[in-house]
Symmetry: C2
Subunit: 293 residues, 2 copies
């Protein structure tokens, strides 16, 4: 009986972590999870046919998030990471309602928690897609932890298309032969300067990267916002949360074999492979295109 | 009998022209059609939930194009304009096969024809989305008319996201209170300079705007490529083609009432209204969100 129970547990524990994002952005979460939990198996779905989510309506975002979750459930995941701030901002209540037995980690709360931890003057800046900012999800999450915090939000809608094109900061391109011009760096800097100017004026001392794509240009953002501002990487904070939940629930993988990473996209696997490998910091060898509807 | 036939014709002639695009870009075609055919009714569908098409795969583009056509057919259109170069590059054979009795005008051939007409040195440049350039549709269309032409193609994938954000050139913003910073103009110029440099080096004397979004930044493109290069606006050439086909087939509208324009989108009608009004040069008052699947 005990052995039987142990075997069942073993089967559940050895299941993969499921992660979805609108595109390649969630790979920054995957990277952070691999660093913290190098033994775990991962199944990733990037909805590259329908990226970006950030300028879509609430109903559309919820619909896509449900479809993505159903796809990952086919892969018998033990925990779901919604590695997309836009989905995290709108779809979590519905996902929790529809998939009652599924452990779900989203990316907003971990970032909000870290922001409150790091701030000294209680002026916190948040950047994200239009939809994420419009949802006020960060304001709600931060206020819930620390009511006296003042939160300044700024939509930065063009960062996702630029990053999906492979415009990421130079430091992350070291050891890569990816072609990127000085002009790209200049344009990213100008755009960042324009987007971040209002937040600078407010005198924030913490800036939350409220989109999992943005860690790809973290160095440029840090440079523009200034070294006195702590930049919170919500991907990293989310990975810490995943580790905590797996440990608390005794759900860490038993087997000690080489971890398996599976990548699925709804379109353009070749482009995902190329730019995704840069974001992940290791080569993505196999990506499968699947139909999501 | 004759009267009956005349009545039936009248009903067909008084039907609207149907137009679809991946987003707001096709409105530059609508604008050109309104200028040339001010009496015609128009039904427009912008697939704003799934924009951009330009980095999607061939199969996805064909699937979406069929769905969009089926939607417009519900509005009893007399002619379909595929106002999206990406769809025009991939989906036309399938649309013609599936909708045999429908008159279909696409945007590639009219632009190709104009390019051959204007070139003197037979060096023609084409800019478009990744998918349009990859399809070689312009090379095929131009070579078919003029085999000795040399065609230089350049994908310019970031123009669509920028234009969908309302970054359009200043001349088109006159009399508008739309907020746009000097930085936007600078970034558009830098990006254009980078994208167009290889074409300049080839010594082209004609540049085809192979995407219906691009007329929104025609002035900047003309300025960067230089006044010795003729810029071909495929939206304008397409409108001329629509006029020709309606006249040849005696399909022009009979009634002389005020024309009706109906706009449908798959997401975010408010944003479409705001930025679309700039592109159309007149206020879009009513936009309806519809489900496309």
């Amino acid at each position: 009986m005990y052995q039987q129970l142990k075997d069942t547990m073993r089967i559940i524990n050895d299941r993969p972590i499921g992660i979805f994002d609108s595109g390649i952005g969630g790979l920054t979460v995957v990277k952070a999870i691999i660093d913290l939990l190098p033994n775990e198996d991962i199944v990733y779905f990037g909805d590259t046919a329908r990226v970006p989510y950030g300028n879509k309506s609430k109903e559309t975002i919820i619909k896509y998030s449900i479809q993505n979750t159903k796809f990952l459930l086919q892969h018998k995941i033990k925990l779901l990471v919604v590695a997309c701030n836009t989905s995290s901002s709108y779809a979590i209540p519905m996902l929790k309602k529809m998939f009652k037995n599924l452990k779900i980690v989203e990316v907003v709360t971990p970032g909000a928690r870290a922001a409150v931890e790091y701030t000294k003057n209680y002026k916190i800046g948040v950047i994200g897609t239009k939809a994420t900012i419009k949802s006020k999800s960060y304001i709600k999450a931060i206020k819930k932890i620390c009511n006296k915090a003042k939160i300044f939000c700024q939509p930065t809608p063009l960062f996702v298309p630029l990053i999906e094109e492979g415009w990421i900061d130079k430091l992350q391109l070291i050891n890569s032969d990816y072609y990127q011009t000085i002009n790209h760096e200049n344009i990213l800097r100008q755009l960042s300067a324009e987007y971040l100017a209002p937040l600078k004026n407010f005198g924030i001392d913490v800036l939350v990267l409220g989109c999992t794509h943005y860690p790809a240009i973290k160095n440029i953002i840090q440079d523009i916002i200034g070294k006195n501002v702590t930049v919170v990487d919500s991907s990293l904070e989310t990975a810490k949360e995943v580790k905590k939940i797996l440990e608390e629930n005794k759900l860490c993988k038993f087997r000690n074999n080489k971890p398996k990473y599976k990548f699925f996209v709804s379109d353009n696997p070749e482009s995902f492979k190329k730019i995704g490998s840069l974001l992940l910091g290791q080569e993505i060898k196999y990506v499968k295109k699947v139909k999501i509807e």
